[in-house]
């Protein structure tokens, strides 16, 4: 515990001694369920534990569907949301963010399928995305553009990433969209069934989601800075093979779009 940073934690949170952190554990390698069948593991889980150690608080990591996490933060069910959230201006109207990573969106599909390389290439195909993600919003925006032409896009929105991958395997969708580290990991784990196609776009920061104005933004930012300074941050990213997305300094509400 770093006492100078732990002192910044508001008294109400310090009194409980625990931070409940929500993540949608279907997004390997950032958050997924470990071999014991119920613990959330991954880059976000390791980073949450490290932040907890700096602040002197216990971390209770819970699994929740992606589109229920921000409403859960607003209603006080969770203290933090660390589920590969892209920090966007739209989301900043509801919660605060402390940026900690950088990722874009990648396309991936069956090795035998059409290699869709960009959003424009979606026209005339079926794309699977997870509910509540920026990829869902991007795909729907592209569908509006395509549908005016003669080549409609079918956007299939599923509850979680596992359902997206199943839709891809069964041919329901020609292509899936996910954050680049996640897409790369799925392709690696699939042993040749899936392949990445095209180039990643829309590189944007990940942010730790915090309820608005509850005093936790500054301590969390200080904790992340500390982890970057003492090398713990890079060690965690190296462990999961995603060091390419490292950022130099954490920002509060650093949305670029």
């Amino acid at each position: 515990m770093v006492s100078s940073i732990a002192a910044q934690v508001p008294a109400a949170v310090k009194a409980t001694g625990t931070l409940t952190v929500a993540a949608d554990a279907t997004y390997a390698p950032n958050e997924f369920i470990g071999p014991d069948g119920h613990t959330v593991v991954g880059m976000d889980a390791d980073l949450a534990t490290a932040i907890g150690q700096v602040l002197g608080l216990k971390i209770n990591m819970v699994n929740a569907t992606f589109d229920t996490i921000i409403p859960g933060l607003v209603s006080g069910k969770y203290d933090l949301g660390m589920s590969s959230f892209t920090d966007t201006k739209a989301r900043q109207q509801t919660v605060d963010f402390v940026t900690y990573f950088s990722a874009g969106t990648s396309f991936y599909g069956k090795t035998s399928g059409p290699g869709i390389a960009s959003l424009a290439g979606l026209c005339g195909h079926k794309v699977a995305v997870e509910k509540g993600t920026t990829q869902a919003a991007d795909a729907q925006a592209q569908a509006a553009k395509c549908n005016s032409a003669s080549n409609p896009v079918t956007v299939e929105i599923f509850n979680d990433q596992n359902a997206v991958n199943l839709a891809l395997s069964s041919g329901r969708a020609d292509v899936a969209m996910a954050d680049s580290p996640v897409a790369a990991y799925q392709v690696k784990q699939s042993n040749g069934t899936f392949k990445l196609s095209g180039r990643e776009y829309g590189t944007a920061p990940y942010g730790i989601a915090i309820p608005k104005n509850n005093g936790m933004a500054k301590p969390i930012q200080a904790a992340v800075e500390h982890l970057m300074a003492d090398g713990t941050y890079m060690k965690i990213l190296d462990k999961w093979g995603i060091q390419a997305g490292a950022i130099p300094t954490p920002k509060i509400n650093g949305a670029t779009s």
């Binding site: 589109d67 509910k131 509540g132 299939e156 041919g171 329901r172």
Partner: protein, 322 residues
């Protein structure tokens, strides 16, 4: 010396007192009613004063295009899945009661399998059928095939939902119809056979119409249940009511108000179905009782519009004259 006549006359000149009849007091009922009223008032108060309900959001989305489109799909799923379920149920029930062991065995296996797996799993299975059979073709068994189709084009999400819900419902309806058929007295079948009716005619004209009285209440229950079970189709991306509402709050984060919008519509539809079931039950109850009890509308009419004749005047008090 008092004579009996004097006492009689004396008794007859005074008019009999009116009986003061006081209704039985039920203090417990009044107390319970007061408690219920207070709780109801508290509930209505919190509904109106808690800002988190978001009544303005509810009002703006209750009749929005997306919600109404989702409602239409929910109604479509309920109607088609129940129609499929009832038709399948009758066929399976009759097969189950057949003398042919192959028919009754097949029916048993179908009911065992479709009641034995969760509806959600069945929906996911039909949706992802292409994982097992990418192409579906029509042809000779173990021989050449004539028509081919891509499984994903043939089975759209809506088709997968109808298949999953309808086939599952067929298994449950089969047991309900079988219960109805068993409830008809065997004397009816004996009498029909004595009249020389065939087994099919007996089933169609004698047994099934009488079985309806026992079949309708659980079927109404199943229909109302199907209305809600159709929300499972949200997992396979069918844009029914719940999924439409989920897509809206995934973007604007107003989870509770939008779930209330969906709940209001489910409640309205359930009320309509409940009223419908009441009238269908009355239709099939003809002949079972001398006179059917009045419907709610008939009761309202009776209270509001019946004119009572004035009560007759009390009898004259002059019995001692004669």
């Amino acid at each position: 010396m008092t004579t009996p006549q004097t006492t009689e006359t004396a008794g007859l000149t005074a008019p009999p007192e009116e009986i003061k009849a006081v209704p039985v007091r039920h203090p417990g009922r009044w107390l319970a009613a007061a408690v219920v009223l207070v709780l109801a008032a508290m509930f209505v108060h919190t509904l109106l004063t808690n800002p988190r309900f978001g009544w303005d959001v509810i009002g703006s989305y209750l009749f929005s295009r997306r919600v109404l489109a989702g409602l239409a799909i929910t109604i479509l799923l309920t109607v088609v899945a129940m129609a499929m379920g009832i038709l399948l149920g009758v066929i399976l029930a009759v097969m189950r009661l057949s003398a042919n062991p192959l028919l009754s065995g097949t029916s048993w296996v179908y009911i065992w399998f479709f009641r034995g797996t969760p509806v959600l799993v069945q929906l996911l299975f039909w949706f992802n059928l292409a994982f097992l059979y990418p192409r579906i073709s029509l042809g000779l068994p173990f021989g050449p095939s004539f028509l081919h189709a891509n499984a994903n084009s043939l089975i759209t999400p809506l088709a997968a939902a109808i298949l999953g819900l309808g086939l599952n419902e067929g298994a449950y309806m089969a047991e309900i119809v079988r219960a109805g058929i068993l409830s008809v007295d065997h004397g009816q079948v004996d009498a029909a056979q004595a009249l020389g009716m065939s087994r099919t005619l007996t089933m169609r004209r004698i047994v099934l119409p009488q079985a309806m009285r026992v079949i309708i209440p659980p079927t109404g229950n199943e229909t109302i249940s199907m209305l809600k079970t159709s929300s499972l189709a949200s997992v396979i991306t069918v844009t029914e009511l719940l999924y439409s509402v989920q897509l809206i709050y995934a973007v604007n984060f107003k989870t509770i108000p939008l779930l209330i919008v969906a709940s209001i519509w489910y409640l309205i539809l359930t009320s309509v179905l409940t009223a419908g079931q009441y009238y269908i039950e009355r239709h099939y109850a003809r002949g079972a009782a001398r006179e059917l009890p009045p419907t709610p509308w008939q009761r309202i009419r009776r209270i509001l519009f019946t004119v009572h004749a004035p009560l007759p005047a009390p009898p004259a008090q002059h019995r001692d004259e004669s």
